[in-house]
Symmetry: C2
Subunit: 230 residues, 2 copies
């Protein structure tokens, strides 16, 4: 068939048009944390009526940026996949007016946050770098894979052996962190790691932002795993 050419002007324009409306941008931004929200709530967030919101959601859906999940009389919308989330992060974060990143950005958010459903920010980048260096994490043709020594280390700091071993079977995606411009671990592996850290109380979700707040205990554990902030 016709080979896929470079990004032609129409693909790029179509994508841009989907972002070009403040109402749609607001919806996408609020879904960037991986949540799934019903149409009505998204309408409220975007500040438009239900009818208008429905039209916007239809466009985003047709454009492949959203996926929908029906549940009773609600329809929950979420980002189509973490590929989309990565694009949005790339677009959204560095778009601070001019200055590179005036250090005014919320420091907690720079430190640790969710990107889609996995850990990002300085902490996420530091973890990825440290584990890659130790060989606990390896980049294969198949994506990022956790190695046995990492499992041992996790068990040593208190994780259940069975749960830790399950991580060996999960595939990670290298995901670019756009405040740090460096890799962190996304994909199923990244999500599983992050979930476990939340469960263990190492991290806590901030109430009104995507920031993740590390507990004192969490920081100690991270340090035991070779992960330090600055």
């Amino acid at each position: 068939m016709s080979r896929v050419e470079l990004p032609n002007r129409y693909q790029l324009a179509e994508f841009g048009a989907l972002l070009a409306e403040p109402a749609r941008a607001a919806m996408l931004l609020v879904l960037l944390d991986g949540s799934a929200r019903p149409a009505g709530e998204l309408a409220r967030v975007a500040g438009v009526g239900a009818a208008t919101a429905s039209a916007h959601l239809k466009r985003l859906l047709d454009g492949g940026l959203l996926a929908v999940q029906e549940q009773g009389r609600h329809r929950y919308y979420r980002l189509a996949d973490d590929e989309v989330a990565a694009w949005l992060e790339a677009m959204a974060l560095p778009r601070a007016p001019k200055a590179q990143r005036p250090a005014g950005s919320d420091p907690a958010l720079c430190r640790a946050r969710t990107c889609y459903r996995h850990l990002a920010g300085e902490l996420g980048v530091a973890m990825c770098a440290a584990w890659l260096e130790r060989g606990w994490l390896q980049s294969t043709g198949d994506g990022l894979r956790l190695r046995a020594p990492a499992v041992e280390a996790l068990v040593e700091v208190g994780w259940q052996a069975q749960a830790a071993e399950r991580l060996l079977r999960l595939r990670g995606r290298g995901c670019i962190d756009w405040t740090e411009r460096r890799l962190h671990v996304g994909g199923p592996l990244g999500v599983a790691l992050t979930d476990a850290m939340l469960d263990a109380g190492w991290l806590r979700r901030a109430s009104r932002s995507r920031a993740l707040l590390p507990s004192a205990d969490g920081l100690r554990r991270f340090a035991q795993l070779g992960v330090r902030l600055d």
Copy 2:
């Protein structure tokens, strides 16, 4: 003052709107190789009249995506900086309709190409990774820096000592390659390296695309510098 919050909906929408027009998208895409072109040529590329093109260029200029350089009765437009180029790469490349990247993309382009003015693609990523691993390249707080051993190696494969040493003073920017999702060297250092490789005949620009074609000699030199393609 008001701290810079996260990307608000308006910033994102404004950016999207700039891309949302096929004529503007075409202009941006053709400038993605770092070239500077006069308004008339961009009008031709975009397939619109001179008047229309002028209006589009004004919008892109006001939006901070382009810079202009007056020269006689011509006005040469180019991308504002490599930050913008990186955003565009991020938007444009992975925007193949659905399938991840159906391997139908131009193989030469995946192998090596210019990103703005520096080397990207498999070759660029491989070089960056190999040199980081050998310590020839180091990530400092200030960006990427070349180290002395790299200069020695470059001289050994035939570069002028003086030119090679100058590279030590140039700052590199980690630039994300969106076909590979991995780092390669951008910024002044990346540009200087790439220029030198073009001068030395290791690489040649393809006539009708952003692909860079490595010569047989070039591939041999790259191999001597620890850079191999698969």
